[in-house]
Symmetry: C2
Subunit: 344 residues, 2 copies
């Protein structure tokens, strides 16, 4: 590794002091520098292909230009949309975004937050689902508190158990309304493809859905709820299992905890020679944009993830440091499409 060009090199090359070089390049507040010298310094910097060391700047300035985003899995379209929103806002403020994926492991999440704290990130947006895991939650809380004490700004998406600025996604209520809508369309017997119990988002959706169906006089029996990973393959396997166990008999609608699972479930149905919605209806959750134009169009709950991402970063950055905890609640919009037509 060849030696890096430092500010001292630039200063020497331009025949000025490092202080002047620094000011010429980055303009200390209030201070100004002779145009001619400035030009010399800039020429020197260009000539030497100088790159300021952002780490050194961070040490002395005590702050960075980085914001951190923590999600489960960046390949999840929902998370990607949220990330796009975060990145967009970051760009308007000349901030760069570090994304880390927890792969749904609570300890990995803690480690990522820890890492972001070490980097002295300007802000952290925590967007993975809350885990139903008290131990890691404790460590996460500690880490976050330490970060905030040191001046860090945090916003949390969907983890409404932390004493921090929060954008709460009403998974429970939205799923409940979806169920009510389906019931009003004539559906009476539902099956549910749920995600791992550890993941609160999924649990909330399932709970809400079942409550909604029950409220409409069509409760979902426990044996009709299958647990699987929140992935396409998880949906496929769970759906296949549902069929193989004979649990699908009499069921008129299957609710999957997210759209990705729903797609897998539809594939499984097709592979078993069943048609959607003729033989059984399917509904999902998230309203993934790439799926919107697809047939049969999926009934789902729309969440404006990109907007949420943008708002979350704004919230983290702009809230007063000693602001009281604010909770913004986002309600999902039930979108009925072809996959759940009215039942005669």
């Amino acid at each position: 590794m060849a030696d890096q060009v430092t500010l001292a090199d630039v200063a020497r090359w331009a025949g000025v002091s490092v202080a002047t070089a620094s000011r010429a390049l980055h303009g200390s507040v209030g201070r100004t520098v002779n145009p001619e010298l400035r030009a010399r310094v800039q020429a020197a910097a260009a000539e030497l292909n100088y790159s300021p060391n952002a780490n050194a700047q961070a040490v002395v300035r005590g702050t960075t230009t980085t914001v951190g985003l923590v999600v489960h899995d960046i390949a999840d379209p929902s998370a990607a949309a949220l990330a796009a929103g975060v990145i967009e806002v970051a760009a308007t403020r000349n901030l760069i975004v570090t994304i880390s994926a927890t792969l749904s492991d609570p300890l990995t999440e803690v480690r990522h937050v820890e890492s972001l704290r070490r980097q002295r990130a300007r802000a952290i947006v925590l967007a993975g689902s809350r885990f139903n895991d008290p131990e890691s939650a404790g460590r996460l809380g500690e880490e976050l508190v330490g970060y905030a004490v040191g001046g860090g700004r945090v916003a949390v998406v969907g983890q409404h158990r932390l004493p921090l600025r929060t954008i709460e996604i009403d998974n429970d209520g939205s799923a409940r309304r979806l169920a009510a809508t389906l019931a009003s369309l004539g559906y009476r017997r539902a099956a549910v493809l749920a995600g791992p119990e550890l993941i609160a988002t999924s649990e909330d959706r399932v709970t809400g859905f079942r409550a909604g169906m029950a409220g409409a006089g069509a409760p979902v029996p426990q044996e009709n709820v299958l647990v699987a990973p929140l992935t396409r393959d998880g949906g496929y396997v769970a759906m296949t299992e549902l069929i193989d166990l004979g649990l699908l008999d009499g069921v008129d609608v299957v609710f999957a905890a997210n759209d990705v699972m729903a797609v897998g479930a539809m594939a499984a149905l097709r592979d078993q020679g069943l048609r959607v919605p003729a033989d059984v209806a399917v509904a999902g959750f998230d309203d993934i944009s790439t799926l919107r134009d697809v047939r049969p169009a999926l009934t789902t709950v729309r969440l404006p993830m990109e907007r949420i991402g943008a708002d979350a970063l704004g919230l983290a950055l702009d809230g007063l440091p000693d602001d009281e905890v604010t909770v913004t609640r986002v309600i999902g919009e039930v979108v009925v499409r072809e996959s759940t037509p009215p039942r005669s």
Copy 2:
């Protein structure tokens, strides 16, 4: 912003020198520290909720634990898949990933690389498409060279004009084979939905496709090629325009430069009362995973993006510093599905 806890605080609290504290927490090579002292230091660190300043460490160590990934748009499923691959490999090496989006602007791309260089990122994976823009290409090259000279590791995905380790995606040849396949299925008159000319990936695909059709004796006339953004809406608008201009008459297949556009195109067709594939066939490029199970299933070219992302980071990290430039070529796999059935 309350004062951060520093290593000196920890050392004082534990009653040792900062040197010892440093060694106890991070274990300098070769040096070892009394277990009892180590325990005291660790207790102090925990007690004070100490977080090492990664920036200060980076300054003195001259290297960081960050890798940078530059893509066009993280919400693009293809880019998200690649990012997942990068993140996965990074995780196994205890590296964290910074993702930045260029939004298809060449200058933004340069700025992001510059920023990554300032951070002294350990490696950079450049995965946006090459731009057909000599000026920014020059600046990009300079920046990258400066980065490499300083010990930075770079891998490039799909930009095969840079003298760097490259994973080249054979857009041209793959599109050509797609065209040949379609021709062999009986398609004779194609229209093309192309992306902006600035974006080389799209251009290569379009060029290859047209060459393939021409090679099969069914050339695509220039007026059948429409330019639009590489988005769902771009595809929708372009397709609508194609119909409105009467250009679709006699056309039996529409090729979109990526799957996302193809989806938009299909939506436009549907909105105009046309059926896929009965009235016109459609093909895309990328084989986005969320679309695989969707009907009508889209004929496309599969690119193993997650794998590519993983390989790219591996290539960047593991290549010898003075390695000669290596070029790995990835060939897309033509996947024929329902959207382009054999034509009688």
